[in-house]
């Protein structure tokens, strides 16, 4: 399954607009653009999708560390 398609399905969830108050224009339509986003929820989902789709064998600890380091610094 295409990673951009997966990303778009996740960011279409109502929480993104309702809770995080994001407008359509704030939501990138592909993973590459989302990875440079400054919005934590968008970038977190982008890291999750990008890492899992590019490297299916990645372990949970490595992936969590990457996300938590980003979040702890930027949130």
């Amino acid at each position: 399954m295409n990673k951009n398609k997966i990303f778009k399905k996740f960011v279409s969830h109502e929480l993104i607009k309702d809770k995080y108050q994001l407008e359509e224009r704030d939501i990138p339509n592909n993973v590459t653009r989302a990875l440079v986003s400054e919005i934590p929820i968008i970038k977190t989902i982008a890291i999750l999708v990008d890492e899992l789709e590019n490297n299916q064998g990645i372990n949970d600890i490595t992936l969590y560390n990457k996300i938590s380091i980003y979040l702890n610094k930027n949130i």
């Binding site: 399905k9 996740f10 809770k19 929820i41 899992l52 992936l63 938590s68 979040l71 949130i75």
Partner: protein, 713 residues
């Protein structure tokens, strides 16, 4: 994937090599019962079947008789060639059979796979089973090949539909993200817990809360597993109850139908006896009397002649007697006697007058010795003499009575002639009677066959054992008690889980409050954000599945409505539910008030077929590939007016289908079968039609002569 060709060689009723070429669209294979239709279907199934049993039973008996017994090796094979993507792929399964002393030796079946690329390069693959799965995956094939109408009801199982939807929905793929997000949430919670700097009292309270939360989560998980088990039990019991309800209903139907069949058989038997009696009588008329029909003019001529002879005889006799009478009268006149007419007065009157000494003719006394008395006495003597003389000495013109005998023969022939005239109409009436009774018999046989088919359906559908009705009823009652107990347990467990969840939420709040006060804000925010990521992955996965169910339901209804144009048939409803983490989809047909809609046999098939076609479309959309649908004899409950809609729905909603039907075949009075012209009417859509039939050398009940051949129409 498109099936281009199937070649069946020496397999079951197919002797020698038989080639079936198929096209895109609707392919129809006609075949009367027992002519090889189902064998074709089974041949395709055999290619994909790895469980080998009774291979000897698969060999064409004609091949056994004509070749193997003569020492010739025979190859039994089924080959299927398909186009898939830009490639042509062939898969062939075969074995060799040969004579070994008096028995047959069979080699292990082998599978060969050939791949032909777009460039024309053609090679045998190393792993034919992989090619076979590539061609027609087992999971897809399960929902693409259906034998009979009962098979079509595969989606009555809640798991079958959800498995299929999950196979093609993105939900299955997205589901992989959920455990990752769960792991992140767990790690974030741990980080928050570890980072909290609390005073001694809070530390103690925090430890208690954390322990309670862990315990409650474990307990909830255990209870949910327990509840899941009860839900599984309820499902199983419910399906058993449904089966039993069906059996109980079927047992009644079975008995009713059996009684109807018995009555029909009695009526048929009575009619047959009457026909036999009438035919025997007719035959008797032909055997013994029909020859006389040619003698009718002879009888008539004879009758006329005898009538003339008899008339002449009577005339001559009369003349003769008149002459004798005249002579006697003259003699009496000469003696001065005036003759009285014979019999006036009678002998008894004369004796009475003599005894009374009185003449009652002239009303005068005639005392004994008087002239009058003597006169009466003489007249009496004369009368007695005349009568006696007449009796003993009457002169006859004809000494013998041959003419009377001939007249009697003639009279009896009158009756014969009348019988002969009646015989023609009698025979004609008998023929009419026999024809009419035979028509009655055929009607009764048709009615009986209908009842028998109905009964077969009742038995076939439920594997009924009518003899054990009492056990069935007892088990049925037991199941009802069990389901009540299970439902009670389920309700109680749900209450416990809800109460534990409330408690958990409360503890979680208390812990969060402590965390907010003591933990660094960024850790709390990270935890919250990762919780949201978990919610997003779980709900997006659910939504994907739900969307597909909604779409499938919509598509199925569109097809269902189009195949039932002008008739209200209810609406297909797909109910999604969850058992544990497993999605389930229930298939129902409901009316406008959401009550189950009672469908007849054909509507039920159309409802299932509509869903099947909707799935076929879904597979095409989701997997970007379509697969052929192969259906054997799906039309047994159909009226012919439904055929166009049925075939059209396949034409419009699939890229390729192969439908095997026994319909449109007619048999003439010489038992010769052919395709009925009604099949060629314009509204029955077909892109290709084939006909499988036993060749002219096949003799009924002689399996060694059986040979199914395929004819392109």
């Amino acid at each position: 994937m498109r099936i281009k060709q199937v070649v069946i060689t020496n397999y079951q009723s197919y002797y020698g090599k038989n080639v079936f070429d198929f096209v895109e669209g609707v392919n129809i294979i006609h075949g009367a019962n027992g002519h090889g239709k189902t064998k074709f279907f089974e041949a395709i199934e055999w290619i994909f079947d790895d469980y080998e049993s009774n291979l000897e039973g698969l060999i064409s008996q004609k091949a056994v008789h004509n070749e193997i017994k003569e020492g010739i090796n025979v190859q039994v094979s089924v080959r299927m060639t398909v186009s898939q993507g830009n490639e042509t792929k062939t898969i062939e399964k075969s074995f060799i059979a040969h004579k070994n002393n008096e028995s047959i030796s069979i080699s292990r079946p082998s599978l060969i796979g050939i791949r032909e690329e777009e460039t024309g390069e053609r090679y045998q693959v190393d792993f034919p089973k992989e090619l076979r799965s590539e061609i027609f995956d087992e999971r897809i094939r399960r929902y693409s090949m259906f034998k009979g109408e009962t098979d079509l009801k595969v989606f009555e199982s809640k798991d079958a539909l959800s498995t299929l939807i999950e196979m093609f929905s993105d939900a299955t793929y997205l589901k992989n993200y959920i455990p990752k997000a769960e792991y992140f949430v767990g790690r974030a919670e741990n980080a928050v817990t570890a980072a909290g700097k609390k005073n001694a009292r809070e530390e103690k309270q925090y430890a208690i809360l954390s322990e309670e939360i862990i315990n409650l989560r474990r307990e909830i998980s255990d209870k949910e597993k327990e509840r899941n088990q009860h839900e599984i039990n309820i499902d199983k019991i419910q399906s058993s109850i449904l089966k039993y309800e069906n059996i109980i209903e079927n047992a009644e139907s079975y008995q009713t139908l059996s009684e109807r069949i018995r009555i029909k058989e009695e009526e048929i038997s009575k009619l047959q006896v009457r026909v036999r009696e009438c035919e025997n009588y007719t035959q008797d008329l032909f055997d013994k009397n029909w020859i006389l029909v040619n003698y009718k003019p002879v009888f008539e001529e004879y009758k006329t002649k005898i009538a003339n002879v008899s008339k002449t005889k009577r005339r001559l006799e009369n003349e003769f007697q008149q002459k004798i009478g005249e002579k006697k009268a003259i003699e009496n006149l000469k003696n001065g006697i005036i003759p009285l007419p014979i019999g006036a007065p009678t002998r008894s009157h004369m004796e009475e007058m003599i005894e009374a000494e009185l003449c009652k003719v002239c009303n005068r006394e005639a005392p004994k010795g008087s002239e009058a008395y003597e006169f009466m006495n003489n007249r009496l003597q004369e009368y007695i003499e005349a009568v006696e003389k007449d009796m003993f000495e009457k002169k006859q013109l004809f000494k013998h009575n041959y003419i009377n005998s001939l007249t009697k023969i003639s009279d009896s022939n009158d009756e014969n002639i009348s019988n002969l005239i009646k015989m023609e109409s009698k025979i004609s009436e008998n023929f009419e009677f026999v024809e009419s009774r035979k028509a009655d018999i055929n009607k009764k046989i048709e009615e009986r066959e209908k009842d028998e088919a109905e009964r077969a359906k009742v038995i076939g559908g439920s594997k009924i054992d009518v003899g054990s009705a009492a056990t069935i009823l007892r088990d049925f009652k037991g199941l009802n008690t069990n389901i009540k107990d299970e439902n009670t347990s389920l309700r109680s467990l749900t209450n416990i889980i809800n109460s534990k969840k409330e408690k958990l939420a409360d503890f979680q709040n208390q812990k969060n409050n402590l965390d907010i006060a003591n933990v660094a804000g960024y850790l709390m925010k990270t935890q919250e954000l990762l919780n949201d990521v978990l919610t997003i992955t779980v709900e997006t996965t659910e939504k994907e599945f739900n969307n597909l169910v909604i779409d499938l339901e919509k598509q199925a209804n569109e097809i269902f409505q189009s195949t039932n144009e002008g008739a209200y048939t209810g609406k297909i409803k797909l109910y999604k539910s969850k058992r544990g983490n497993q999605n389930q989809v229930e298939f129902k047909v409901l009316d406008n008030f959401n009550n189950p809609f009672a469908l007849n046999g054909a509507q039920e098939v159309l409802a299932h077929t509509s869903l099947l076609l909707a799935i076929s479309k879904m597979v095409k959309n989701e997997a970007n590939e379509s697969y052929p649908l192969i259906l054997d004899a799906p039309l047994s409950t159909f009226d012919s007016n439904k055929y166009p809609a049925f075939f059209n729905s396949f034409k419009e909603n699939t890229d390729q289908c192969i439908i095997l039907v026994k319909d449109f075949i007619k048999e003439d009075e010489n038992k010769k079968i052919s395709i009925d012209s009604s099949f060629y009417q314009a509204d029955i859509v077909k892109d290709k039609s084939l006909w499988v039939k036993l060749d002219e050398n096949s003799i009924e009940n002689q399996i060694e002569t059986t040979n199914s051949v395929v004819i392109e129409l």
